[in-house]
Symmetry: C2
Subunit: 458 residues, 2 copies
């Protein structure tokens, strides 16, 4: 494989840049060796997951995670580590979330649900109402106010299995979680139950943010597990008069002060930045191991390895651990604001927020001409490491506000098959992490940063 | 992506074969849709893993697995399902396997071990002896008889982490499991302890076959978990006079009759075969979910889907579930013998025996000229499904005796990162299977069979 490489570069670049390409190849090999032998990122993630756990914005766990990651980065060769203040929403789940289906046919059946993030609660005493099951917004609208008013709307829209990448299925179905409550409220519904955004048929409800539309009544919203959705749907076929009882105590509190955690290595050109990050907040029901503890520790590990290998920073390398990706994106927005204020330019902003699974490649937001210029180079450099997917379109939520301040936005693309088994559930836990997969992701990220630093992605 | 496809075919093949390529593309898309929506293979594997479990050759579980898979295949549209008799070794683990380190420094410490497959046991009372730790056969030989005689040799050779594919690391290290006992016995050792073939640092000992060299005393051999190996090594540094006590009751019984399970769909050309399979036997300490229940159910699923889609068999399609891959390969050898006796030719023999993980591609044993002819075609057909690795060299153990009777031997190459966390351990269980990853493997296999059937791999 190495031979094919060298031949490729000799042919493409002429002997002038051949030595450079050869050096880059060898350096990338060293990055992978360091990463695959390291337990450092894995151990950081163990702490974030098992000892801190779910760290939703505004929670004591989020504050602990900020302190922990700052302390971690303080032990590493950054030139500066600091906290960027940002006001974040503070949503709390409360001490109760329950749902029961009440039918004449089967009696009372408990259903495993969890409140959707940002949702209002039902309060003490809960809500009990008949249920109307729908499979699309069109179907909901066709029912009209008469058939929806006073009812609980049950969005039973499975993620489609036929997509090869599960994010495509998520992209299609997630609108029911995000907008279902307001769409149903417009027709007078009193609450919504949303089938979980999961690819497995199991008993785990998946939380995640909803967004209430201004001027529309905010009604309570819960996610039901995929198996629970099948069960509820069957109950409704057996007895259409089945009622649902829902009680949730979640509520939104006033905004609180939190932080992005930032570490910088200063290069020759201080005002030109290569940024890498993930988000430090995570849903409260699980431990945020894959989403997105993995991305945080990979970002730190990528820079740690480059430092350990003595790579000379030509630009500022900046690790940014964003706060509040999950239910507000305030950290990403505030970071982009600071960048504009400082007049900095980002050569590359790279995010890992798709789980700590075997990396398959990168997706990019950049000009198509630029992408075409570097695509084959990347392929040839990184294919020996199992990275085959280099694609235009899609990078990461936290870095999306940087559009206009960055030449290249990039997202790590890990294998997506297992992601929606764990995403936003109680089982997004450290035991689901494979050390080598996590390390391969960190190595892929370090390699991309390295190539950007060497001017190879210009 | 589809557009790029069609353009590729239009340019490469001319309009004559363009319609064919377009049909093939659409058919492969249908295969993936069927596979990703199916729970069939997953449910078969649940039964094989959870209700039958470890099914080592000669065991009641192996017999149950033969009956179960025959019964399964009898419900599917095969033209015939039959059992091919084969005599297999019958090794049993016995009712005890224990190891303790006895040092003046730390007292008695239990170590988690398991006997290696085919090993003789120590018998009642066990063996107690000083330990000599080595890291290579060269180191062992350099020690010589004087320093080895009467001792227990501890092969502490970690699988190297720097390889991108874990099978490369396994290939390097497995010799100590296979040949360690005889190499140590040549110098008078009384037993061996082999560091487990695992990429994780954990407490699971990995069993697996050893081979005793003829004319060399057969001495007992156990695997120790990777963490146990670290612990034992530390103990030996603290107190070089540390002794090991080992007691195992494993033993080899006389050969017994077992079977390959075979199902056939008859095509226009009966004597030309496309075979697909995995091995039905599995180590007794786990449930053989990934190794190789996955390969068995994927093979059945691949043919089931092709039948369901109404693909017309031009050749004989044959599912072969091999018996005794783990500690003898008798099923694979007997199958190849039958093929030669019948004078059949295999157009393609495809094996899945690297776990039910996200498939990354295929490896092939065939002539380099032939491989070069089909490589780009395969890439273009299968890359949209996440299959990027098409490589010459390596197919599968069970089909390896078919060399000379087959034009193409192929092995499914799934992502290898997690395989050696589970391989030959007590935790190779059904909960480690992701339905979509398993299904993607089955779809990849069905696609390759389809292309062979259509004459596209000639």
């Amino acid at each position: 494989m190495m031979k094919r490489f060298l031949l490729f570069f000799a042919l493409c670049l002429g002997t002038g840049r051949f030595a450079q390409a050869q050096n880059d190849s060898l350096l990338i090999r060293s990055i992978y060796e360091k990463a695959l032998e390291s337990h450092v990122a894995y151990n950081y993630l163990e702490y974030l997951s098992n000892r801190i756990g779910g760290r939703l914005s505004g929670s004591p766990q989020a504050a602990a995670a900020v302190e922990y990651m700052r302390a971690v980065m303080d032990t590493l060769p950054f030139d500066t580590v600091y906290l960027q203040p940002v006001m974040v929403p503070h949503w709390v789940r409360g001490d109760k979330e329950e749902a029961r289906a009440l039918s004449s046919y089967r009696g009372s059946i408990s259903l495993r649900v969890c409140a959707l993030g940002n949702s209002v609660g039902t309060g003490e005493g809960g809500i009990s109402a008949p249920v109307v099951e729908v499979h699309s917004f069109d179907e909901l609208k066709a029912l009209g106010r008469k058939k929806v008013e006073g009812k609980i709307v049950f969005f039973n829209v499975p993620m489609k299995q036929h997509h090869i990448e599960t994010f495509s299925a998520y992209g299609e179905a997630v609108r029911y979680r995000v907008s279902g409550a307001s769409e149903a409220a417009k027709l007078g519904a009193v609450a919504v139950v949303v089938r979980s955004m999961g690819t497995a048929l199991d008993d785990e409800p998946h939380t995640g943010a909803l967004r209430y539309e201004q001027g529309v009544p905010a009604i309570p919203a819960v996610a039901i597990s995929t198996r629970g959705a099948e069960q509820l749907s069957a109950l409704l076929r057996q007895d259409p008069s089945t009622r649902l009882f829902i009680e949730t105590h979640c509520r939104m509190l006033p905004d609180v002060l939190s932080y992005n955690v930032i570490g910088e290595v200063w290069g020759e050109r201080r005002d030109t930045v290569i940024a890498v990050g993930g988000h430090l907040d995570a849903w409260d029901n699980g431990d945020g191991a894959h989403d997105d503890g993995a991305g945080c520790v990979q970002s730190v590990e990528a820079v740690r390895i480059l430092r350990q290998l003595g790579v000379k920073p030509r630009y500022t390398w900046r690790v940014v651990l964003f706060m509040n990706e999950e239910n507000g994106l305030r950290g990403g927005i505030e970071y982009a604001r600071m960048v504009r204020e400082r007049g900095e330019h980002h050569l590359l902003a790279l995010e890992s927020d798709a789980g700590g699974f075997s990396p398959r490649g990168f997706s990019f937001d950049m000009t198509p001409e630029h992408f075409r210029r570097i695509q084959n180079y990347l392929k040839n450099m990184l294919e020996p490491y199992g990275l085959h997917i280099f694609r235009l379109g899609g990078s990461g939520a936290d870095i999306s506000p940087l559009k206009g301040s960055a030449t290249i936005l990039a997202g790590l693309r890990p294998d997506s098959q297992r992601y929606f088994d764990y995403h936003h559930t109680a089982i997004d836990t450290f035991d689901k992490i494979n050390r080598r997969e996590l390390a391969l992701g960190a190595a892929a990220m370090a390699s991309l940063i390295y190539l950007a630093n060497q001017g190879m992605l210009h």
